[in-house]
């Protein structure tokens, strides 16, 4: 309870272990996310990032360990936690606005239309309310998914490689959008990505996971100001940090391969 009261930790993962049968996906993972920060989780494919995020969302219970939101354990999905999936995950039989209203329908709760309108405006989707997902580009779909997640005004937003399927340009735009939204709402964000550049652009901290089983290898502070300008992103400090994290990830992979042989 102490963290919740002091406001030091928004979200805490304590010794999280997840087994799928014999297979150990996560083992003794611990990390803390301070309120109003963005924390990225990076690591090779299959190291348990989605598993960890779904545990944080309360969708997929841990084998042992716990996830605390404001000091209380998360055992099932909570309204304060929004989730953006690895793909946009819109319901194709609903138009954009009905997709965004879906959470309210499930909860039997009246939507805050003004807030939703504001969000749509923010992500440049005004005028597309009646469009169906198959008529929207990948970037537009993912923006709609972000609006859907933010519509309920969560205090924590979990994002699972949200832009992995987008092209490089759209991806940069989306990163800027996330930064803008964060600057406006100060929602605590946990952001999973394969891209170290993306992680460094967005985060206050970068968590590096090891594969098989997933463990926390290192946590890097990213002490750069916001908004993160081109100059900051092109600086030597960012370059060095990128290389350090890359070395950790690839070092892990090489060690893993050596161990396998």
């Amino acid at each position: 309870m102490a963290e919740g009261v002091s406001g030091e930790t928004k979200l805490a993962v304590r010794a999280a272990t997840k087994r799928y049968g014999e297979f150990v996906a996560l083992e003794g993972c611990s990390l803390e996310v301070r309120p109003e920060t963005i924390v990225s989780i990076v690591g090779p494919s299959g190291c348990g990032k989605t598993t960890l995020l779904w545990a944080m969302s309360g969708l997929n219970p841990l084998t042992s360990g716990e996830v605390l939101l404001d000091g209380t354990p998360i055992t099932r999905p909570r309204p304060e936690v929004g989730l953006v999936f690895q793909e946009a995950n819109l319901l194709p039989w609903r138009n954009l606005i009905d997709n965004i209203l879906f959470p309210f329908e499930i909860k039997g709760q009246a939507p805050d239309r003004a807030w939703i309108d504001h969000l749509l405006e923010r992500v440049s989707l005004k005028g597309f309310e009646q469009s169906f997902p198959n008529a929207l580009s990948g970037g537009m779909q993912q923006r709609a998914a972000i609006v859907r997640a933010l519509a309920l005004q969560p205090s924590v937003l979990l994002m699972d490689e949200p832009f992995g399927a987008l092209d490089a340009f759209t991806r940069e735009e989306m990163n800027q959008l996330v930064e803008e939204i964060w600057l406006e709402t100060r929602t605590t964000i946990v952001f999973i990505t394969h891209s170290i550049e993306e992680a460094l652009f967005l985060s206050d901290q970068v968590v590096v996971l090891t594969p098989r089983p997933g463990r926390v290898l290192n946590v890097h502070d990213v002490p750069f100001g916001r908004p993160r300008t081109m100059e900051i992103m092109a600086s030597k400090a960012v370059f060095d940090l990128t290389n350090r994290i890359k070395a950790e990830i690839y070092g892990q992979q090489i060690a893993g391969r050596a161990a396998a042989e």
Partner: protein, 270 residues
Amino acid sequence: MSEDVVGGKVGKGLQSLSTFGAGTSRLEFLAILATAVIVIGGLELVLRWFAVPHYIMPPPSAIVAALVTDFPLILPHLGHTLVVLLSGFAIGAGFGLVLAAVITQFPFAEKIIAPYILILVTTPMLALVPLLILWFGFGYEPRIIAVALATGPMVMINSATGFRRVDANKIALARSYGASTLQIFWKVRAPMALPMILVGLMIGAIFGLLTAVGAEMVGGGFGLGNRLTTYSSMIRMPQFFGVVLILSLLGILIYVIFFLIGKKWASWET
């Protein structure tokens, strides 16, 4: 009406009801119309030219004429066939849908029941009609039961395919907002299954029509199927073909209805 055009479109339509007929331009439409005129007109000319007797093959004009003059006599039989088809379809489709929705929630039960459904799908229910008549007499009952038995398994097997099409992420989405099992069913599973359900309903209705007519041919007394046997035994071929024409229009009507429903409710599936 050229058979291959209709057949080809139906085949495609089964895969995707919603895209059938999409993008038919005016020119293509005219071409289709012209083909129909040529085929029907050609048939008329050839039959008249060679003076083919009406009892062998009446020309289209004689069929239409017979249909017009005898329509008051045929209409009550159309009514009987519709009663049999609609009630049999409603019962069969109802059972099929509910069974599909329930059974797909329990994979083990599904495995047990699957072979029986397969037998029901592959056995022509027409084969049971003599037995059903023995049990239930010569009224509506055996026919309605036969139609239900023909429709149900078709609806069931296609709907089950639809319900089994679970997208774990979409269900997780609903769960992440605290959706109940019932909400997940109505707001995720059912809409996701709808295109396949519509295909099942359409095939079920067509099979129902076939079975209704067949049962009427066996059962005697009344119904369009019964008219077919009666007219052919009386060698009244124009009337006979008139009834055939009504039956094919019924089939097309079934198709168009489900096409329109699909266009309205399942067009999201490209």
